[in-house]
Symmetry: C2
Subunit: 211 residues, 2 copies
DNA sequence: TTCCTTGTTGTAAGTTCTTACAATAAGAAA
DNA sequence: TTTCTTATTGTAAGAACTTACAACAAGGAA
């Protein structure tokens, strides 16, 4: 019987990798069916492991949700900040345009993300712990946007309230984003583009030459 | 034994009243804890009736949720619009201002409603039945807003895309509303007012004399 | 190879939730 | 009062979900 090859029944992974895989699987579940699909068994199946492995990595469902939140939010914010720093070349106007383009990028606003974010927002409102984490990250992001808008205004010798414009701009985008999430045919990418730039240009003057 | 007073064990209500009461109780539950608190037994307790009464009025949980959606999101505003139409008072501009004021009314945008709406939106994205209900209500509402904006524009002999302005305005308000839901100190009523009117006036010209 | 650590599985206990339904009784009608 | 309609109750069936835990086995160490 020594000739029989032993075929492994499962693969043993490094804890950090497995943990990250589980979080990603959980995000995919959220994207597919919102909180209603955020079930331990489903997540385990999605990750290709058994249900029993989940409590080994997360002592409760809430802990897993917190991880999902952190992972998905940090990724997004980090990407934006990286964009900011990388493209630090060029005029403020140019940088602002690039950031707007990134925010309304169809790939960023894809349906899967819409569903995940809506589910997370719904949880943030009723979960104080999640809410605290959200505030820090969101305020920091909004501030960097406000600073950039202020720079553009200065460049053009206009006096504006950068904080308020940043907030309204983000609100406008979030709102369109929400409409699109609830009714996929409601808002096209062109609509996003037009609404965002029109709004900004009404305050700052012409931003683009082509579009 | 005939002297013993029979004390009723429950009160029999008119179906329409009971139904409305149940919907209101469900809204209170949603407001308190989001979808996690939207449980049949909890709603029954909140309404002061037994669990068994719920399936008598709503053949499924989703049906109840759809009622909650309509009641909490549209009843107020629809009533306001109907009021304006009935009394047919004032110029289009005046009527538009009144509607805006109704939409950003602090009592309408109170925290409890924020929680309810976020929970509902999270469900709409993943529940086809609810999504259909949403589309009908939302599109109808948006259209009446667009028509009114068109009237204001005509009055002022401006050529605008009423549909697009209505959509962007509502998106702006929804977005601010979202920021407020996630961070209660982020947006004040004055912010709502300023952002809404500024946006409209950029397209339509001055709307108010005082504010 | 053999041993050992611990990642992984399978199962089940205990809980909670939705839906169904037969029995009960409130309140109107006659 | 008596009858009748149906709103309401109480309970339970059945499904689904979270968490716990004992046994198994993968893969590195010696």
């Amino acid at each position: 019987m020594q000739s029989r090859k032993k075929v492994p029944r499962f693969k043993r992974e490094a804890p950090e990798k497995r943990r990250a895989d589980l979080v990603q699987a959980a995000i995919r579940c959220l994207a597919e069916g919102g909180m209603a699909a955020f079930k331990m068994e489903r997540i385990a199946t999605e990750a290709g492991v058994s249900l029993g492995l989940l409590p080994h990595y997360f002592k409760s469902k809430t802990e897993l949700l917190a991880e999902v939140y952190r992972a998905s939010l940090y990724d997004d914010v980090d990407r934006k900040i990286a964009d900011l720093d990388d493209k630090a070349i060029g005029s403020p106007t140019e940088r602002l345009c690039r950031i707007i383009d990134a925010i309304i990028d169809p790939d960023y606003l894809k349906p899967a993300n819409l569903t995940v974010w809506l589910a997370l927002w719904g949880e943030i409102v009723v979960n104080p712990e999640l809410r605290l984490a959200h505030r820090a990250l969101y305020r920091s992001y909004l501030k960097s946007l406000a600073v950039l808008i202020g720079e553009v205004a200065e460049e053009r010798q206009r006096r504006v309230n950068g904080t308020e414009i940043a907030r309204s701009l983000q609100a406008l985008i979030d709102g369109l984003f929400l409409e699109r999430a609830l009714d996929k045919q409601a808002v096209s990418h062109a609509d996003f583009r037009r609404a965002s730039y029109e709004f900004l240009e009404l305050h700052l003057g012409k931003l683009t030459s082509a579009a």
